[in-house]
């Protein structure tokens, strides 16, 4: 009798901290509450202000591209206060020391809701490793601002891109001469990764704007409603306590940024899908609503599948992070898919809204510009695909 090759047994990987015996994809009661709170906040406080934010300031416009939009400081202050009242602020370091930090899943749920509006407002969420920093309180209070100067990481989404080196001095460290783009350049503090000379391991620094040897120049508008500038480091000396962490911390921070982008993208997708469905129901062409046209139906059906898959990838990556399982690759994949989905969702919403879609009084063209940027941050699609493919070729997928 010919021997039948044995089917390899399915390996069940034990899960750390597993509390229930069966898979359960429902949100916990607490997660549910957080999501509903965030949704209500976005509905009541943000979406109600969106019209005023998008409204054109003058009846007639000068020629050329319109000015960058900004949330006025007064509104921002009000919103911070309101967000604090419902616990949607300082997610990592709540004011009340008794309150635990939000889980990664909860943060995805929150950022997902905030993504539904074009209003540039998100809950402050400082990286956990800033725990010891005296800056935490002023940052959480909105007196100081923090920007991630991770310009060298956007290409690959990994630590490979880091070109700046650091070297230990008797009283601290010195960073090698380097120049790179920094998004959100107008900040008081920057988190910045560099590599140690010799060991080549990555370190994460907290730089103050006033640090000597650090300069910000050539500030310009981006095509999103944000800014970019060149950051130059020339013999930049930092104190010992400004080195906050190493290799893992840089990678983890990158992964959490990828999760934040993924979550925001999900919100963009939800909003674009919902508004497109509504508009397709209302708009009549050639005697029928757009919603009755297969071309439109299929666009929206595809988008919904895309949205759902991206949602589960993001939630699973966040859940892995919460359970101390490896989650970097999952976060990278979630970001890649979600950001692309958000861009396509905005593109679809523009197309379905026709001429209104490209108007600045509607949110879709803004989502379109923003999502295009999100796709390019913390790992470009081709780089992430290539890395996954290379791993597969090297290792196969029996793991």
């Amino acid at each position: 009798m010919p021997s039948v090759p044995a089917v390899p047994a399915v390996q069940v990987v034990p899960i750390v901290n597993k509390t229930s015996d069966v898979m359960d994809l429902r949100l916990s009661e607490e997660e549910n509450l957080i999501q509903r709170t965030a949704a209500r906040f976005v509905d009541q406080e943000l979406l109600t202000r969106e019209g005023a934010y998008l409204k054109q300031k003058a009846l007639f416009l000068p020629p050329g591209s319109p000015e960058r939009r900004n949330l006025d400081p007064e509104t921002r202050k009000t919103l911070i206060q309101l967000a604090k009242e419902v616990g949607l602020w300082a997610l990592e370091f709540p004011d009340d020391p008794e309150t635990p930090a939000m889980s990664a899943v909860a943060r995805v749920l929150i950022h997902r809701e905030f993504g539904r509006t074009i209003l540039p407002f998100e809950p402050a969420c400082l990286p956990a490793l800033m725990g010891q920093s005296p800056y935490v309180k002023p940052l959480n209070d909105g007196q100081l601002s923090l920007s991630l100067a991770f310009g060298q990481l956007h290409k690959t989404g990994t630590l490979q891109g880091i070109e700046t080196h650091f070297r230990e001095l008797p009283d601290g460290y010195v960073l090698s001469h380097s120049q790179f783009d920094v998004f959100e350049p107008e900040a008081d503090l920057y988190l910045f990764p560099a590599r140690e000379e010799g060991s080549d391991r990555a370190g994460l620094f907290l730089l103050e704007r006033s640090t000597s040897g650090l300069s910000i120049s050539e500030k310009e508008d981006l095509t999103t409603d944000a800014e970019v500038a060149r950051m130059t480091l020339t013999y930049c000396k930092v104190r010992r306590e400004q080195l906050l962490g190493y290799e893992y911390d840089v990678a983890a921070l990158t992964a959490f940024e990828q999760l934040r982008i993924a979550a925001r993208s999900l919100g963009i997708g939800m909003r674009c899908l919902a508004d497109s469905i509504e508009h397709a129901r209302q708009r009549v062409t050639f005697g029928r609503p757009l919603a009755s046209r297969q071309a439109i139906q299929w666009m929206l059906a595809d988008l919904s599948v895309n949205l759902r898959t991206s949602t589960w990838l993001a939630l699973e990556a966040a859940w892995r992070a919460d359970h101390e399982l490896p989650f970097f690759r999952a976060a990278a994949l979630a970001k890649k898919r979600a950001a692309k989905m958000a861009f396509e969702a905005a593109d679809t919403a523009i197309q379905i809204h026709g001429g209104y879609g490209v108007c600045k009084e509607f949110p879709f063209e803004g989502f379109y510009r923003e999502a295009r940027m999100l796709r390019l941050l913390y790992g470009r699609e081709d780089e992430l695909d290539r890395a996954a493919g290379e791993r597969f070729i090297q290792e196969g997928n029996r793991h």
């Binding site: 009846l59 007639f60 416009l61 591209s65 319109p66 508008d221 095509t223 940027m373």
Partner: protein, 398 residues
Amino acid sequence: MDFRLSQEEESLRKRVEEFVRDELIPLEPEFENAPDVFEGSRWKSRARLSGDPEINRYIEIMETLERKAEAAGLWHLDVPKAYGGLEVSNVAMIAVTEELEKSKIPFEFGTHVSNILYNCKGEQIDRFLWPCIRGEKTSAFGLSEPASGADPSMLQTTATPDGDDFVINGTKMFPTFADVADFVQLFARLPGTKGREGVTCFLVERGTPGYRVTRSIATIAGTEPCELVFENCRVPKTQMLGEVGKGWELNQAWLGARRFQVGIRSHGMSQSVLRAVADLLRHDAKEAERWTSAIGFFLGELEALRSLTYLGAWKADQQADVRTEAAQVKLFATELLHRVIDFALEVAGPSALRKRGAIARVFRHARSRRIVEGPSEIQRHIIQRSLFREGVGILDLI
């Protein structure tokens, strides 16, 4: 069969090639940081609105170029001979635009004359057509409405006959340049009519009582189309363009003629984006290796677009019905441009989204092209309709 241009067309193309080489390309460094206001052929009237001395300097440069082009006999290329123009073929206009697109200077040989204005009759000719040809007046195109675009049956603006006048009521959305245009080509329907029947075109001057440009509207492209309101606006019958109830045909003719230019413009913009990508890759062997085949793929697609565009223009020159070809070119051109830009941004990374950057500019300008003058879905609809009506015969060689 002969894929070469005629002698006359080739000699024109050569002269344009020289003009671009000698006059336009040398100006490119100067335009590197030019403000974003020179889009479209009616740029001058809007640019003047700004009153910015920096912009005025650019206007002067452009006007000097216009005089040079006129002196070189490269002016009013598509204006009929009866109006002192060169009346060159559609194919020649494509070849001319293809040459122009090789430079970054947004220059055109001639003032903007809406092609349907050649339907002007009697005193309309002196009042509307000639001033446009001479560049003294500009016009806007008022078709779309808050609830209607590609579908004539949804057009709600009415023109009610009253003695020697028509009384016009309604709102028009998105005519570009209407805030500076001297008159609008306005489409309205006669009371009690449905569908395309009854749609009639009028020429309505700015300042006519009851006609107001209520606002301009910010868009992703940085062009600001307008909203127009007509409230009991009285327009004499003598200002009707063409015949009563034949407005929709005029609209179709206006769109048809422009389609092939959209094709070659998208071709040129895509090429310029790919050139920007090549500039980034030229000194980075590793990155270049990664993207070379993708660039090659897009070059092939662009060649396909170019040939489709020339085919359509040539068929139009043979007086053939080119509605399907026009739809194919519009669809293929604007969707391809979209893909090229998306690719370019993947290569160039987030820094390329600086607002003034070459790729970012095209990124913003290109988005509306898949919508204006008939969205891609309508183009696909036109193509499928002729496929089902006439079968694969529409692809027959002639």
